[in-house]
Symmetry: D2
Subunit: 142 residues, 4 copies
């Protein structure tokens, strides 16, 4: 992916709809986890991997083990957000992503966080090494 090679993080754009907001008039804070997962999924797809195919062809699932989020500025209805994906650390059976939600209109940082994802076997649910194909593919972004 070209944007990985020039050290710009991968970005996935999301729009804020009513479904994402709460009675405070802003994006419900739990929903940034949804936005961030959409971006990680598209990052993975851009590297050639679909979650379904990883499960069926490689017998692997990715499960979230840890999240840590800081909320800075509340996004609102109709806002467009860029969700970044940076691979911050690679373990033998896990990946740590650093992610941000940035308001497109003015570049303001709404939310930033770390998400640790573990690789497990789809059948036994036991921890498993990351698939070689994936490691080869993401070697250039670490």
């Amino acid at each position: 992916m070209s944007n990985a090679k020039d050290n710009q993080p991968y970005r996935w754009r999301v729009r804020v709809y009513y479904e994402d907001t709460d009675a405070g008039g802003v994006v419900f804070y739990a929903n940034y986890l949804k936005f961030m997962e959409r971006a990680r999924t598209e990052w993975l797809r851009a590297h050639g991997f679909e979650q379904n195919a990883i499960r069926t062809a490689l017998n692997r699932l990715f499960v979230v083990r840890h999240v840590s989020l800081d909320y800075r500025l509340a996004a609102r209805l109709d806002d467009m957000l860029d969700i970044t994906v940076t691979l911050a650390r690679r373990g033998g059976a896990s990946l740590v992503f650093s992610q941000e939600a940035i308001r497109v209109a003015d570049g303001a940082l709404c939310c930033s966080g770390l998400v640790k994802v573990a690789c497990i076997a789809a059948d036994s649910l036991r921890p498993k090494p990351l698939p070689d194909q994936l490691l080869a593919e993401i070697a250039d972004v670490l």
Copy 2:
């Protein structure tokens, strides 16, 4: 269930939290479907059936085939709602429920609707007759 025998519909109480609301300051309309499913699930549990057990022991799943909802009055944060469950019709492989969301504070009707649920085999996903055990149990409420 005693409340079925005296023709009062089954009721399940839910509280409105921030997660249920949207930027309009009210309950997001799609979420009444969640409230209604909670009530149907508890109605089923009150009759002795858990969804997980129905799947594993009886190889049956219930899937929603049709919903129709009318929105009358918007519920708000902190409101308590009674969600009713009335079995309106029983087919060979389906059940139709009539349900309402009633604001506890004043008895106002917030939302009413019909939900048609079909019974399918958990393995083949093909339509299947309702389990005999369930039919025997709900005979008194139709």
Copy 3:
């Protein structure tokens, strides 16, 4: 909008993520209402109207009064869906939309429905005629 003029319904594409699915392995049925609202919102935006601007500049809100959905075929994780928007009827203070969720891979119909949306004043919450600007804009699609 060109696609309105040649009688093709407006389409908005959505991807199915984990957030949209449930333990049955398919899209949770209530979530089609979210997909359909995203499509109506983008249809409105394509006609030059943002929900926020309608509220602040025109003192109008659109609220959902009725939904009716039929579920045909369950969409799954990673599926791409086209959500159609057809303006089926225009009242003085309401719009009725006919919408479908179509699986892009094979054109299969997953879900179809009607959504009635009423126009109300953002301050008094009373029913109000549709804004003239909007009526003029959508005259060609009815």
Copy 4:
């Protein structure tokens, strides 16, 4: 509250429904934030404060500034969970809660986390000291 005085954390019980799960067959990880907020809201209510009343009578809102969650064991459909609420730290304009999701059937820890909530003015959205009434009420639990 009696359970605070004998150093047992406050507990709020939630049931896992289809709406809470994802295609992995387990509770979607973002939804633990919903469960934890329900428990904090009920903890607050048990201390005599409703979110709506705090906003209208005291001109205060609580907003989440930081969350950090560790996922240990995946809860499933029909599971009953106890969500604990422990007030871990009190700042001048913020509260930090330590929370756990515990499977009732066997006491297994599913998820644990910290949630930092800030107090702001409902009108200006600026940071504000915690209301005196609330401080007096929670003095015994810190």
